[in-house]
Symmetry: D2
Subunit: 368 residues, 4 copies
């Protein structure tokens, strides 16, 4: 095996997006995944591109990053379909956010003002049922966000990886990286159970498991795993057009009248088991938002383990010790949304291009 330009550890959506961006720049990339591509959080996500809905009043660096990423999907959908044959399920039918309390209604009011002043199309829809007739009768007005869309997360993750492969990237599944390969104090590649691989640069994009790998190299990441549980049902006709979002529960209409309902947030566990009580709790919330869901067909439940950070911002930057080691993890609930821009910015970083957008996400932000 010859030497690679870049080895990426982690075949989820972040690692695959970086691989795709590097492959476009003619880099010789090796993408290593301990299981199957897109088999962890990336394959479990609901795929909302919810920049405004998720961040509302937080109009800082993460919000700006989210906006940049969100606008990349229409073009990306075409590129990836052409290269890999995979349709990423991009839909731009907007999102509705339902206030469950008076306090939330006031908060949404503020969001509408703030985002409106920033030029975004966020507004009250006073007649929620004229837009989505199947919403619960107790719901009157909802916040409408026309710009936020959605994709099929597992398809997007796989489309990044397969498009990267089509451009020359080598992918190895069932290949767990046990450690970084350090020689004379320099990072020169990675170790696996069966062989070592060498490269000029290394990217750690292993989601919740990134921490394990970096722990013994003097710079522990302040991340922790957060389990998110979901389920899906099949309707016999279209019950929703927009994604509906409220505190603790969202319903995303997918192709073929599938509805995806999420998501719990159980911190500090990597156990992917979906609990009885989580299913029960999500069902109850979903039925309040959309009573007609009671008639749908139960399909299945699943979960993913998301990487969260202590300060809620992802880590996107170079490792303070090894100058050829980049980190991209901690995207929490925004991994799908941020994947496109993360791929681009990490590729820039590896090319030596400093980007102001990443300043807030560098690894040494707590100490500087």
């Amino acid at each position: 095996m010859n030497k690679f330009d870049v080895i990426i550890i982690g075949g989820g959506i972040i690692g695959s997006s970086i691989a795709y961006e590097l492959a476009k720049r003619s880099k010789k990339v090796l993408l290593l995944e301990r299981g199957r591509l897109a088999s962890e959080a990336s394959g479990a996500a609901a795929g909302m591109l919810a920049a405004l809905v998720e961040m509302g009043l937080e109009v800082g660096p993460l919000f700006r990053l989210a906006l940049k990423s969100r606008q990349m999907y229409p073009k990306l959908a075409h590129e990836l379909r052409a290269l890999s044959g995979i349709d990423i399920g991009f839909v731009d039918k907007g999102m509705l956010k339902v206030p469950l309390t008076g306090a939330e209604a006031l908060e949404f009011e503020e969001i509408i003002k703030l985002q409106g002043s920033l030029g975004h199309q966020v507004s009250w829809c006073e007649k929620a049922h004229s837009k989505e007739p199947n919403l619960g009768q107790h719901i009157s007005k909802v916040m409408e966000v026309l710009e936020d869309g959605q994709v099929d997360a597992p398809s997007l993750s796989l489309a990044f990886a397969k498009s990267a492969e089509a451009l020359g990237t080598t992918t190895k599944e069932f290949t767990q990286v046990d450690d970084l390969l350090i020689e004379d104090g320099k990072l020169v590649g990675v170790k696996t159970l069966t062989e070592n691989f060498r490269s000029d640069q290394v990217v750690v994009a292993a989601g919740a498991w990134s921490k394990n790998l970096l722990e013994s190299h003097g710079y522990p990441l302040k991340t922790y795993p957060v389990k998110g549980e979901c389920f899906s049902v099949l309707a016999s006709q279209q019950l929703l057009e927009s994604t509906v979002f409220s505190h603790g529960c969202y319903i995303v209409p997918k192709k073929g009248n599938r509805l995806l309902v999420g998501a719990t947030a159980i911190p500090h566990t990597s156990d992917k088991k979906v609990s009885f009580q989580s299913v029960q709790s999500l069902m109850e919330k979903a039925k309040k938002l959309l009573p007609a869901i009671a008639e749908t067909e139960w399909e299945k439940a699943w979960s993913g383990i998301r990487p969260q950070t202590d300060d809620g911002l992802p880590y996107l930057g170079m490792h303070p010790v090894y100058e050829n080691l980049a980190i991209a993890t901690g995207h929490y609930r925004n991994g799908i949304l941020l994947s496109a821009v993360t791929g681009k910015l990490i590729a820039d970083l590896l090319d030596g291009i400093e980007n102001e957008d990443l300043h807030a996400f560098r690894l040494d932000r707590h100490t500087s």
Copy 2:
């Protein structure tokens, strides 16, 4: 294809049990199944052998049949394991029936008296939690039925069929019988999409679908399909030893700390889809019986379509028009329990042995 002694239509638990019994008597049997063996109600059942728990005060012919069948399982378990290698999961840890209302408590009181007078071990367990510590705190006394046990229904159904095969029976899956084959007014076999099969005798044991086949032959069965929905969870330790049964919900402890929760009863549908609201309703009831179920791992939901009759008794007898046509269907919720004795009695019937036990279940019972 040579002529068979008996063709059995339906590869569920009833047809397979009959095939097994006939094969033991050296009959040349053809067992026809339109899909896979044990793929409908038989593969969906919880496997309770609940003679006393289900029938309590109904101590008529069905109850006597149930008792006869129940006592056959211990020996059958050994026979079938030896012939097919399949363990039918026979467990005799008893059942607990929980009264949910005062009226039910009074009814159980009567059952205890009546069944006690008949010599059965049915009694109040005043300290339910000393027996099953994880039952809901609101539950005080429960009716304990030591004799009722359980099996793994899909395994039992398959074990009957595979043991029959080991004794010479021919099984054909994916073979739908379209019609009876009548020549000169006599039944001589069956028609399928691709060929006709001939036999001396025919048995219809096609569960809820038996009616379709017989409709055009002058003797419509008074049966209708009833959907039963279930789900299972996986506990990290044993939460129950006995099966727990209450109005509208039972929880059956299976091997490997799996709990099977059932079952709805949705009449007049053959649509196997499990609905959101059925799952929700069963979960709520199960959590009242066993609050610790909240912590278990959600596994999956499924359903089966049971054949019910207008008067609630199965049809076990010869067809009034064709003297070489036997019918065995309409077992509703008791198909697993009754399968063993049904196999034996139908085989007797085909051998010309009249049995008093079957009198109440003959096809012409409504007109005589």
Copy 3:
């Protein structure tokens, strides 16, 4: 349940395409399927749009129908994606047909002449490896058909049904039609296990099972079931761009570097089991065409039961006895390709529009 304009029996690709076309014409449609939508032959097909590759020298009515249908897919792909969210996987990368014998090479020579004279782009590609470098070394020249493309068959079938639903069609799965509903000698609807449905017109599009339904109504179809077995593998990079086709074996490149290999043709069986020897035989042929397939990952095998007719032409026409009963079956290996045009022409027929294209496919063709 009110009366429908049209009841369609069979939720495969033909029934679903007809439903879609009728729904576009604002008809009130009921689509009945005994199992799941697209669960039989339609869900098992490789999805080739192989008008020229399959028919080569047979430039009669079936060929003309195939050409008409093939040209409908580019537009249809957009329509169905917009209505149902489902991407049908349309790809127009052409097909290569490999001559395995001298006789075949001569036959291809004729096809090229004939089709060239008809204006089609069919030609020898003398350097097969310059086009597809991974083809077997023994392969020199191949027949190249630029116009023939492919789709994802299960997606197309579901997209038709879901788009019809979006336009108002009612779909019922797990609903087996037991018989036509005849009153006073007139067809007025259909019977199922649980209820009767009424409509002005009925379409039988039940594939291999259409015959069963019509048998007792005086006009037995001359069709028989033919099992087709397939398997798929996953390559770590793209091994083929075009579909490769030879006698007894084709390899279709699907999204994500999946290769679909088909297909056997086992007549007179409805048993969907894939046999060891069929897998072995297909593997051997595929490896000759594409030796690099040896390194791919084995995924799975499956089968479908296709409806073939005695004269090899589908039945597309009105029933000779019931003037409001249309039949559309017998598409054999061309069901995916012909689905688009079949939907349109059967809808025309129900609208009373006679179409010369259907003349050769009418039911009474053998007697006239």
Copy 4:
């Protein structure tokens, strides 16, 4: 979380057997598994208890260990069924070993002499077809080993773990141990992504992945992963009674007329993908042994990653550096067979009981 007596790393058959044995001795055990119990090699194995068939002429310590283990299964089958409800599928119908060459026939001759002199029932069966009528016609005499039996490997592995749970063991799935927890040079527990666990003793039974964990602790194991690929088919009747074994291929008859065919041996890979060529190669060999397999139904293929050692002997002993750390890995193809005795001997070892049987398998055997 309180402190445990013993933490076992690895929920495969070895770790689970050790947990079971410790739980029987009233130890407070924590069994940690990074994925699901029995999800790697233990869940993929064919379950042969092939002491004589596998080892024939190697009558050293490994053979003696194998014999001891093999005799434990009849009793174990009852114990585990009673505790967990799981039937381990124990069958003692013997094995037949087919010589493929003259050299092999000579070798078998020697085995028969040697094993006979040791009192084992190994003999030539001159009329192979009188015993197994479906064997290939080219097969004349076979070596018959009456004592070697088989179990269902996934069931046995799960039965150990669930029986341990029934006796008080705590099991945690989806819990990857990242490192040993060392304090003041002493081993005091293990580290995981989310928490540390403490115990008096630790056992590493992580199969092929044991090496990763121990590498950074000064005593690298000389093990490497070997992929084994298998497939299964379903026969419509029993084709074999005994297990049939030959160079590079065995066929194990399982319950319900399933035949399990294995296995390849691809060293130095942890990639679980089953390759096209492995499937093809195994099919070819299986068809030579049992031509009638051609008619069976193809079911599926899978693989497991076995831990092999440089000298072919498992590591069963205490770690040279940490006196409270035991290792049990490297069982290669004998993990199922050796699991019972391994559980017992490692439990003895942790109890301070030295056992001569383990001498040959200690970790420092190469240096002493």
